[in-house]
Amino acid sequence: MATAGAHPPSQIRVTLHEMRTDVERVQREVEGAIRARGYDDDAAFAIRLCLEEALVNAFRHGNRLEPGLTVEFRAEIGDRSCTFEVQDQGEGFDPVGVPDPTADENLEIPSGRGIMLMRAYMSEVEYLDPGNRLRMVFTRR
């Protein structure tokens, strides 16, 4: 992961064991790092939302909430952009198969909006083979 910036990027690596407490811990750590580099409220909101979606998806859909399975989180936080990677221990999935939640016939279905929100706020979102490793990049405006 390479991020251009005046100061060397900060690295965060966390192995998450438990969804509720560890996701919150990661959120706090990332927020502290981006605030230290002057990221504004809108950036903090977007990053918090996307990390929540990515990490909860990894526990819920990737690891199927199975006790003992973990989620690996890595972040590289630079002055101009941040790269995040989230890897679960599931079999992976193909995001192409996820229905468009904004289609008229899907608007009143209560689930399936996490990936589209990540795509809306991040400048890059990709699932790496075999589909259990998510990489996303946030670029400051």
Binding site: L49, P101, L107, E108, P110, R113
Partner: protein, 119 residues
């Protein structure tokens, strides 16, 4: 025996239930589930539910929270009722806009505006 504290505050305005959230962040799955249960009980307890949900002060939410709101909207609609949202901060309204949920929810700037035609 212990009881979880309520995650919403509800007051009655001429037959309309006006709801505020206790938490400023609606991202914790347990909190979201409880909010959903409480809102659905509110809707199920009215003959023709009329609910205004005030988002003033809410700082964060997740797609799971959107799912709960859609469930509550669907339940109210099935009982010939209405759910209106108001006071949505700019960055949270952007989430509704991106997901096009601003097309299914009636949104207003203030509680007073949301009550018009409901109360």
């Amino acid at each position: 025996m212990s009881f979880a504290k309520s995650q919403i505050r509800v007051r009655d305005e001429n037959g309309v239930s006006c709801v505020e959230f206790v938490e400023r962040s609606i991202i914790d799955e347990v909190v979201i589930r409880q909010i959903g249960d409480e809102l659905l009980r509110l809707v199920d307890g009215a003959e023709k539910p009329a609910v205004v949900i005030d988002f003033s002060g809410v700082q964060h939410l997740s797609s799971a929270a959107l799912g709960v709101l859609i469930n509550v909207h669907n339940r109210a609609k099935s009982r010939n009722g209405q759910v209106r949202l108001c006071g949505i901060p700019k960055n949270i309204f952007e989430v509704f806009r991106i997901t096009k949920l601003d097309r299914i929810f009636h949104t207003c700037d203030t509680v007073a505006q949301a009550l018009q035609g409901l109360a």
